[in-house]
């Protein structure tokens, strides 16, 4: 069942001109929730409200944000950090930059409230280096918030101190992985860390740290304002809230759209994005960024954009960065390009990933160029088995899933390609 999306008014990116300016944001009730929280609420109350709202992390893993916050140990007087993840490098994902551009203060307010809930001393906002223009916008917003006394020492006379720093990445997909992001913030190569210890125990500079996605934190002021009950009433029952769908590929009106979770994929393609270019049929949909398994165009009926529905359909919500491919798409070529991406971005720490991504790419080039054999398809699936769950971080899984599910779900494309191969009988 699809949700009522036609009457939905955007709340993360509301239709208010120049909302990125702090004066306009304040005039529209901005920072009121922060004032309310600092005046009347306890940190526990904030955490419990956010936990009850069940904001599921918008960076891909979909973990309850409030629950994540509650893993932080009791304050011991030392520094504690939030690392806000704006690395946004998963192909198909381009949503957080809309927040930097159109509503940065909503995120800042959310991060300060989260900081209050966890007794944080500093928030590091990690933004991918390619987003130079958006990093500048975010820095301007942070400077404005400092100037108005929302950041710094003794915020609004409450005695609560918090700092916020914007940190630019420099081109590495892996730095979107939380422990790699922390390594990068510490000025090192972005090698993911072995867990445990988890970031809440030993994070940035060995201190308790929580990593949240930008969009996740931007949801926090909305929950404080309207209550957890309001939030859980939006969209899918077990995966509630407004969500930024980044839709790209062969559709007539690609872009970022804010709608409730649980929207049917067909509504998004045909009603929101105006259908497929040239009136063609959908061949494949990647629902949440390149690492989520693709769905066939003929299995989309009734599939909705929430964790449960997508799990049943055999995929994942990921970052809600949907990629639509029309009937003329060459799946072998697409899969090769995805594998090339993961091969390029593997950090090289773990052998199954460093070599596995390379083998996947090489095998796919062989098939793409018409030199493949039937047994190469089995080899691809076997390689996936050798990679999944055998590495420090999930990049190997992210590289293996698209291969496994593209080869199995679009097998005829691959078989056709390898069967055309003529090879001599020895």
């Amino acid at each position: 069942m699809s949700v009522d999306w036609k009457n939905f008014e955007p709340v993360l990116l509301p239709k208010i001109p120049v909302l990125h300016k702090i004066d306009v944001y304040e005039k529209n009730g901005g920072y009121d929730q922060l004032k309310k929280v600092l005046k009347d609420w306890t940190p526990e109350k904030v955490t419990n409200e956010v936990k009850a709202a069940n904001i599921r992390g918008r960076g891909g893993a979909g973990f309850n944000a409030g629950l994540k916050w509650s893993f932080m140990p009791k304050p011991d007087g030392g520094p504690r950090y939030i690392a806000a993840n704006g690395d946004e490098s998963e192909p198909g994902t381009f949503k957080d930059r809309q927040i930097f551009e159109y509503n940065p203060h909503l995120f800042i307010e959310g991060a300060i409230i989260a900081g209050f809930a966890m007794s944080i001393t500093a928030v590091y906002v990690y933004i991918r280096g390619e987003y130079k223009d958006w990093i500048d916008m975010m820095q301007k917003a942070v400077d404005d918030a400092y100037a108005k006394g929302y950041l710094g020492k003794n915020i609004l006379g409450s005695g609560f101190d918090i700092d916020m720093y914007v940190h630019s990445g420099a081109g590495a997909y892996i730095c979107g992985e939380e422990s790699s992001l922390m390594e990068s913030l510490e000025g090192k190569r972005g090698y993911p860390r072995v867990k445990p210890p988890f970031p809440a125990q030993k994070g940035l500079w060995g201190r308790p740290t929580t990593i949240n996605n930008i969009e996740t934190l931007a949801n926090v002021p909305l929950v404080i304002k309207n209550g957890a009950e309001w939030y859980t009433g939006i969209g899918a029952k077990n995966h509630p809230g407004p969500v930024l769908y980044g839709i790209s590929g062969h559709v007539n009106r690609p872009g970022v759209y804010e709608y409730p979770t649980g929207m049917s994929i067909n509504d998004l393609i045909y009603d929101v994005c105006g259908g497929v270019r040239g009136g063609k049929k959908v061949k494949a949909v990647i629902p949440g960024g390149s690492s989520t398994p693709p769905l066939r165009g003929d299995q989309l009926e009734g599939v909705c954009m929430d964790a449960d529905s997508l799990r049943t359909a055999g995929s994942m919500m990921g970052t809600a960065g949907m990629i639509i491919m029309d009937e003329d798409t060459d799946m072998v070529d697409v899969l090769w390009r995805i594998s090339h991406f993961y091969h390029h971005e593997s950090c090289g720490q773990c052998t199954p990933c460093r070599d596995g991504t390379g083998f996947l790419e090489k095998t796919l080039i062989k098939i793409r160029d018409g030199h493949g054999e039937m047994r190469d398809l089995d080899l691809l699936l076997d390689l996936c088995t050798q990679m999944e769950g055998r590495t420090i971080c999930a990049l190997a899984d992210a590289a293996a899933w698209p291969v496994r599910y593209t080869v199995t779900r679009f097998r005829e494309d691959f078989e056709k390609r390898v069967k055309n191969t003529v090879y001599a009988l020895a």
Binding site: L13, G92, Y173, K188, G190, I247, G249, H250, G255, R337
Partner: protein, 181 residues
């Protein structure tokens, strides 16, 4: 005729400000490398030495960071670097056509620099502009979206005339076409 690389007093003051944001002396290496690259146009080993000396950390560590992240130019590139996105959505929407058009136009391949040192081309991984594909970024800076061959030609001509393309603000579609509901 070796070049010397130094930071000015103002830049050193700026670096002190950066250092204050981080609790240890290794952590500011990324922002300081950015500052150096913006000033010198690259971070070749001599510049890495300068950054290491300024932050009082081993040069090997700085080299490790430079070689890990794709946006740091460990070797010199052209004055303008075209980072053409060819990943997934850009591939689907003709990113390779744009790349090949640019290669033909400038007479170089991806990864190369023109003889006059003006332009470099790189085929890069997803730049996070999937809805506005195909696209490219110029020298780690401005994003050029919705590329066509004509638009690429115009951008190259503008750059030759010393004019950098402007930031393209892309309106949020939901704010525009209410009637499409």
């Amino acid at each position: 005729m070796s070049e010397t690389f130094e930071f000015t007093k103002e830049e050193l003051a700026e670096i002190d400000k950066i250092k204050a944001k981080y609790p240890d002396k290794k952590s500011p290496v990324m922002p300081v490398l950015w500052l150096a690259q913006n000033k010198f146009g690259h971070v070749e080993p001599e510049v890495q030495q300068l950054v290491a000396k300024t932050l009082d950390i081993p040069a090997a560590h700085v080299y490790g960071v430079v070689s890990f992240y794709t946006q740091y130019y460990g070797t010199r590139k052209g004055k303008f670097v075209f980072d053409v996105c060819t990943t997934l959505t850009c591939q689907l929407c003709g990113g390779y056509d744009i790349l090949h058009h640019l290669e033909d136009k400038l007479g170089i391949k991806a990864g190369e620099t023109t003889e006059d040192g003006m332009f470099s081309i790189q085929s890069v991984e997803c730049l996070g502009a999937c809805g506005y594909a195909p696209m490219m970024q110029i020298t780690n800076g401005v994003y050029c979206n919705h590329l066509t061959k004509e638009k690429v030609d115009r951008i190259v001509d503008d750059l030759k005339a010393g004019k950098m393309p402007e930031f393209e603000q892309i309106p949020f579609p939901q704010h525009q076409n209410e009637s499409s509901k």
